[in-house]
């Protein structure tokens, strides 16, 4: 229906249009950013079938690809477009002594399998030791592979990160990884569209991570399911690309298919000059197209939510899904106030976390701080943390890991001397990988220990069996590392201002 809109409009007189609209709920309206990109990638749209959607770039990694490569072998099929497929090793890799063979046998086997599969199928691999290696959602953008208007998929739910460029990007399962390898397409039904607006000025010490944790605390972990979410509003627009990536990254934590932000000069400036970004005439053509990528003023969304930036405090989570977040000065909600059908799960969640109803988390001692993951491991995150910790030191009882998102981020941090600042503060700068976000390598949080983590999931056991995760921004995590407790970063920042 959408594709025929122009013809329909031309063939009806205005009063006929009005009655037609009333009859069919069809309206003459502008397009959303999401629909513009989707429509530009539809290979085939047939009644009763999902659309066949063309995928510009397929990112793969060692954990969700081996069974897909095996499937291709069984079918006797090649990777259809190997040049549009990019591989890296990230989930399973050690973050210390990466130049040595991987000690853990199964991890080593899986990473070796990726190397072997990529060689056999002609896919470029940025594996361990390669200057472009890193977390798949960090390297795509930093290499200029992720661009406005594109479609990107990966066997990883945080693929939504790439939507920060004004692209459609989402996570897929391994059967779909095989599908994209075999066809460069994906069968997908068009999701509904949601707009989330954030307007106003952020408080000092509050950043992109706090915004998205705040949003998810309002929508719940399921509130975005079935939607493509466009983030808009002047607060979102004021964010750097790194901040926008943090926001889009966690779209999946409210269940959304993907998240995206219309490209603007910030986006264009970020992409410009990167390794695989278009150059010369191609660049000019690309930019002209990118400037058409926005939701029209009269575009219709199936749902619209609005938030005020002033209402957002530094956020922390207290439970076992990312929707269970509060402002750092707020108290843990009381079980009796929770939806009756969910009270049992809620109580289990608090018990797992070792917390109780109405508890204030300010001042609560913590054991570990993890600064990293595809949510917060980019150079800007490391700069922010370094600026804060310069001249400070971690609390004695806290273990701190800083894990850069990519080899390039690591090299940049070293070039800027951030590694020295971290070292002086007791925050060793490790090597790139997914690390303690999901504890597939040896970076695991021990049972019962509290970790303030800049990652994206606080699920039970996510960072290691029986570990307890408190999600927060890089600044809030750094503050916890320094004080050894959950701390309101705003107080430390104010203190520093007073001292001068």
């Amino acid at each position: 229906m959408r594709a025929q809109r122009g013809n329909l409009v031309e063939s009806y007189k205005s009063d006929e249009i009005a009655s037609f609209l009333a009859m069919t709920n069809f309206s003459i309206m502008g397009n959303t950013l999401f629909d513009k990109i989707w429509d530009a990638h539809v290979v085939s749209s047939k009644e009763g079938f999902p659309d066949i959607l063309y995928i510009d770039t397929h990112f793969i990694h060692e954990v969700t690809s081996p069974q897909a490569f095996d499937g291709l072998r069984k079918r006797g099929l090649p990777v259809l477009r190997p040049k549009q497929t990019v591989a890296t090793a990230d989930h399973n890799v050690p973050t210390w002594d990466q130049h040595l063979p991987i000690k853990e046998e199964l991890s080593r086997y899986q990473v070796d399998m990726l190397t072997k599969n990529c060689a056999e199928f002609g896919v470029e691999l940025y594996g361990l030791g390669h200057p472009y290696q890193g977390i798949v959602h960090v390297i795509g953008p930093e290499l200029g592979i992720t661009r406005p208007g594109g479609t990107y998929v990966c066997g990883d739910s945080h693929t939504s990160t790439h939507g920060a460029f004004g692209a459609i990007a989402f996570g897929i399962g391994t059967s779909q990884v095989e599908q994209v390898m075999a066809t460069q397409c994906l069968l997908q039904s068009r999701p509904k569209r949601m707009k989330i607006e954030v307007n106003g000025k952020l408080q000092n010490g509050v950043g992109a991570k706090d915004i998205i944790l705040y949003i998810i605390s309002k929508t719940t972990a399921a509130g975005g399911t079935g939607y493509a979410v466009e983030y808009a509003g002047d607060t979102i627009r004021s964010l750097s690309m790194e901040g926008r990536m943090t926001i889009c990254n966690m779209s999946i934590e409210m269940g959304a298919r993907c998240g995206l932000i219309a490209p603007d000069n910030t986006t264009i400036e970020y992409v410009k000059g990167r390794e695989f970004a278009p150059k010369g005439e191609d660049w000019d053509k690309a930019v002209a197209y990118w400037k058409t990528l926005y939701s029209d003023d009269d575009a219709q969304f199936d749902s619209v939510l609005s938030f005020n930036a002033e209402d957002i405090e530094p956020m922390i989570t207290y439970g076992t899904n990312p929707g269970m977040g509060i402002g750092v000065t707020q108290h843990v909600p009381v079980t009796a106030d929770v939806d009756p059908t969910e009270q049992k799960s809620y109580a289990n969640s608090l018990a797992y976390m070792g917390l109780h109803d109405d508890e204030s988390l300010i001042g609560k001692p913590i054991d570990y701080v993890f600064i990293g993951s595809c949510t917060n491991s980019r150079i800007e995150d490391l700069r922010e943390v370094a600026t804060f910790v310069k001249g400070r030191h971690k609390a004695d009882h806290v273990t701190v890991w800083v894990v850069p998102g990519s080899k390039q981020v690591q090299e940049q941090a070293i070039a800027e001397g951030l590694d020295k600042v971290f070292e002086a503060a007791g925050f060793p700068l490790r090597e790139p990988g997914c690390s303690a976000c999901l504890g597939m390598n040896e970076d695991k949080i021990p049972a019962g220990k509290y970790c303030v983590s800049t990652s994206n999931r606080n699920f039970e056991g996510r960072q290691g069996p029986n570990s307890r995760t408190i999600l927060a921004s890089p600044l809030t995590a750094a503050a916890a590392a320094v004080t050894g407790r959950i701390t309101d970063i705003r107080e430390l920042l104010a203190e520093r201002e007073l001292v001068g």
Partner: protein, 196 residues
């Protein structure tokens, strides 16, 4: 490649009335190191099923001999979090053919459908009825008729219609496969590429 053909199930069921069960619970990340699709059932709900010494936790329903069957019945927002298809593989490998919940996470639902594991979304009220019935009669049977898109509690005759994408239904009932479908349209893909 043809996949498993799915039409009708009648089975006892396993109740797991917990909301927001994420795929990290279904199969923890440390068990994702395999390079085949087999054997994930052994680690299904690993950290809820076994303690740190690998002893079964008696209080967890999969260790309770009272309940068994081909249908798992779970609280809302089942399968949220990571896109790992290993979660669907683990449920299938353990012996489940269907999961019933009042809400499914998007990616999990797709992964399940691609693996012959049927996600049956029912209303909150119907879900509550199923739990009530399972707790009053452990042998209560659920009937899931994919052709008719109906789920029924055999004892009480209560039934509810459920939705499924017609294409995915045709795939499940005929053993069709997404890749075969797209490859049958390969000319369109090439045409699309040529136009860009």
């Amino acid at each position: 490649m043809a996949t498993k053909i799915f039409k009708h199930i009648q089975s006892t069921a396993v109740p797991l009335p917990i909301e927001n069960i994420d795929t990290d619970q279904i199969i923890p990340a440390r068990f994702l190191k395999a390079t085949t699709r087999d054997g994930f059932g052994n680690n299904l709900f690993r950290d809820w099923r076994f303690d740190e010494n690998d002893n079964p936790k008696q209080e967890f329903v999969l260790n309770n001999p009272t309940y068994a069957g081909k249908v798992l019945v779970a609280g809302k927002n089942f399968g949220c979090g990571s896109s790992r298809e290993h979660a669907a593989w683990a449920l299938s490998d353990y012996g489940f053919d269907a999961v019933v919940s009042s809400f499914f996470a998007d990616i999990f639902k797709g992964n399940a459908l691609n693996n012959g594991l049927l996600p049956v979304q029912v209303s909150d009220d119907f879900l509550a009825k199923i739990f009530d019935e399972l707790y009053s009669d452990k042998d209560a049977q659920l009937e899931i008729d994919l052709e008719q898109q109906v789920i029924r509690i055999s004892n009480t005759g209560d039934e509810e219609a459920f939705e499924i994408n017609p294409y995915k239904k045709a795939c499940l009932t005929n053993g069709y496969d997404d890749i075969d479908y797209i490859l049958s349209n390969k000319a369109l893909v090439e045409e699309f590429e040529a136009k860009r």
